[in-house]
Amino acid sequence: MPEDPAQTEPVTAPEGGHKADGQAGVPDEIPWNTRGFRPVAGVAALLLPGLGHAVLGLPKRGRMIAIGVFGLFLTGLLIGGLDAVDSKDDRWWFIAQALTGPTAFGVDWLHQWLRAEGSVIQGLGRMNEIGMLSCALAGLMNGIAAIDACFPPIRRRSEGAKL
C-alpha cells in the first residue's frame, strides 16, 4: 500500500529547519542520520522545559514541550499534592522528577518547608502513587526533550532524511 505523499514528503521545510539539499544550509555530503551537538541547548532544556528547543530556534516546538511537561507536573501536584515530590521519603521517584529541572527542586523545597510547619497532608495509597508517577513522567519526558535539544537532527525528512 503506497504511503500518502503528503505524510512522507512534505513540501515545506519544518519550522527552524534547514533548506532542502542543493539550496542552502546543509551540504549534500552529510549523511541523513547525522546529528549535531548543542550542549547549551541541552543544559537550557534541563533548566526550563522547552527552553532548549527555543534556543535552537524552534520556539513553537519548545512551547509544546513546555505544555506537555508542565501539564504532567501540575497534574501530578493536583492529584497527589505537594507530597508527590519528596526527595527524602521517595528518593528514587525524585531522581526521575528532578529531570524537570529547578521546578522540581523548588517544589521539593516548598514541600519540606511546609511539612516542617505541618501544613502538608501526607499522601498515601493510589492517589499519592499516581501523583508521583505523573511528576516522574514529566521529568522523563523532559529528559527526552533535553537529549533531542542536545543532539538535534541536522536534516529532517523534508530534506531527504529517512527517519
Binding site: 506537555g68 497534574t75 501536584l77 499522601g123 492517589m127
Partner: protein, 84 residues
C-alpha cells in the same frame, strides 16, 4: 457537594479525593505525555495536535486492552482448583 469538596481537598496541600475514580486520571496523563512526546518527535508542528490526539487514543486503548487481558488472566487463575 462543592462545599464538602472544599472542606476535604486543600489544593496542592492534600491529595485529590478521587478514590474510586482513579482510572479517570489516566486521561490527563496520557494526553500530556502524548503532547510532550509528539512535540519532540513530530516532523511538522502543524500536525502536532492531530498526532498527539491519535497517540493519546492509541495509548489509552492499549492500556484498556492490557487491563482487560490482566482481568482475564486473574479470572482464569481464580477458576483453577486450589493446590494442596
Amino acid at each position: 457537594m462543592t462545599s464538602l469538596l472544599c472542606q476535604t481537598w486543600h489544593v496542592f496541600l492534600s491529595p485529590m479525593p478521587a478514590h474510586g475514580y482513579e482510572w479517570l486520571l489516566l486521561v490527563p496523563l496520557v494526553c500530556f505525555t502524548s503532547i510532550a512526546y509528539k512535540a519532540v518527535r513530530c516532523e511538522h508542528m502543524d500536525r502536532v495536535w492531530k498526532n498527539s490526539a491519535q497517540m493519546a487514543v492509541v495509548v489509552a486503548l492499549g492500556l484498556i486492552l492490557l487491563a482487560a487481558i490482566g482481568w482475564g488472566v486473574v479470572e482464569l487463575l481464580a477458576m483453577l482448583p486450589a493446590s494442596g
